[in-house]
Symmetry: none
């Protein structure tokens, strides 16, 4: 009834965490239990929760008041809202997929696309050790030049990466360049350079050949494909497996995009302040040119 409300459960949890020290023993006990079982708050009564926490009901009301809430109801409402908001993102995926796929043929396509995309992305993030990306990052930063090779659907990805990386460092080029074969761009590549190459089933001959000749010259290879057994993996120092499953006639670039975004982030982070400054001046220049509208 007061002017409370309008604070999310995350914020409340954070406040409780930092306030733990200055709470009285019983209050701390209650707060501790709430912090460890936040969801239980949303589905319990004062007495029920009090018993679970080994505390008197009063204490919970006092805990709520401590955080300037009008009472336990307001306190609980915050957690309830949190439970409801989770629905959107963390809802039971299987059930959601089922319900969507019932909406006709396109619903099924939608559900399958969703499932594939999310799985590809999750697998990439959970099965890839950031330390390996870090190693790759260092190799790129220490190289003389870095080539990014992708054909077909992967060409835009390669190009975009080169474009963005170019803001932070020099010597990043996308291949193939202007109608030529990938190998042409690698004419003077040697062991001081890095080649980032990607191709997915069915594997493209040109990429394979480019990787082969580059490797023969000692160029460091960073290979990206959908299988550790892909033909560009064996000669690569750095290997990343990215899922591209999709019900469509092409392969999905969702997880691939995520990989390059992470790689880019690592590059900027490791490149030091000079890269950050370079990016900022880039943005400032654009702002000054009136490229953006002020909302």
């Amino acid at each position: 009834m007061d002017g409370d409300l309008k604070i999310g459960s995350e914020e409340l949890v954070a406040r409780m965490q930092s306030a733990l020290g200055e709470l009285s023993p019983e209050l701390r006990k209650a707060a501790g239990y709430v912090l460890e079982n936040p969801r239980e708050v949303g589905v319990s009564s004062v007495r029920g929760l009090a018993e679970s926490a080994g505390v008197k009901p009063n204490t919970l009301v006092r805990l709520a008041n401590f955080f300037e809430l009008s009472g336990f109801d307001a306190f609980r409402d915050i957690f309830r809202e949190g439970l409801l908001r989770e629905e959107e993102t963390y809802q039971d995926r299987a059930r959601w997929l089922q319900s969507v796929s019932r909406k006709g043929q396109l619903g099924q396509l939608f559900a399958e696309s969703a499932d594939n995309a999310m799985t590809n992305l999750e697998r990439f993030f959970t099965e890839t050790d950031p330390a390996r990306i870090e190693l790759a990052t260092d190799a790129i930063l220490q190289s003389r030049r870095t080539f990014v090779l992708g054909v077909g659907m992967n060409y835009p990805v390669a190009h975009n990466f080169a474009y963005l990386a170019g803001m932070a460092m020099d010597g990043v080029t996308a291949l193939p360049h202007g109608g030529t074969l990938p190998v042409d761009g690698l004419a003077r590549a040697d062991e001081r350079d890095v080649l980032i190459a990607m191709t997915f089933r069915p594997y493209r001959r040109e990429v394979l050949e480019a990787v082969g000749t580059a490797a023969a010259r000692g160029t460091q290879i960073l290979s990206i494909s959908d299988s550790p057994a892909a033909p560009i993996m064996d000669v690569a120092e750095h290997r990343f497996v990215i899922g591209t499953d999709t019900p469509q006639f092409f392969h999905s670039t969702v997880a691939l995009a995520a990989f390059f975004e992470v790689l880019l982030g690592f590059l900027v982070a490791r490149a030091g302040p000079r890269a950050v400054a370079s990016i900022e001046s880039f943005h400032d220049r654009r702002q000054a040119l009136g490229i953006y509208v002020d909302e």
Copy 2:
């Protein structure tokens, strides 16, 4: 108090779904609301839920009894347990993110990127109604020409979409084209055409202007941005909000890529057998040319 209990919310939901047909009107209304908002059951009172569902409180009691539960309390408890059990999966990700982010500064960047990317993707899929994409698909298929407009990081996305859509149908063009301004490509666009436009905060002036002039000519607009209040949304017939959050200095295209993949899939599915045949012949030709290696 009875022997109820011990059935999961999934099972109850399934039972309700299949029993929907044999329920009386009010009971069906109540059951329908519960099926669409199962989580709300767990955090509401009879009266509160009844009001949300547009039903009288005792109807909910009858609904519970219909499924051989001792009362609304038992009914609600099932959903409450469901809410609590979700904790595990929910916490899994939270815990994983935490453990990763402890691995130094880059680990934190990795974890944040992962969290953002997965959230963006999940939100897109869960908050976008495939029926709306279907409407957009039909508009595109019925159009004379379709333009896909994206600048900066979005240009490769637009280009790639036009490239792939070109396999299935005619008249899809990416803008801007070859160093010209986006508006230039729209010189002869009118109400028979569709313009797919995207820009994200900070919004790009050229995109805004292109959308404005195209809309003035009656061209159908499909807008994609990170907010429903984005300046290209108001004149659009078809609007899609795509999250682009990321800890990086650019915006994330992960969810955006997913959107276009789905749109493409819908296009092919609705375009009929001719599109499929066209794609297949495309692949066959490539195969014959020896573009791919046989593993």
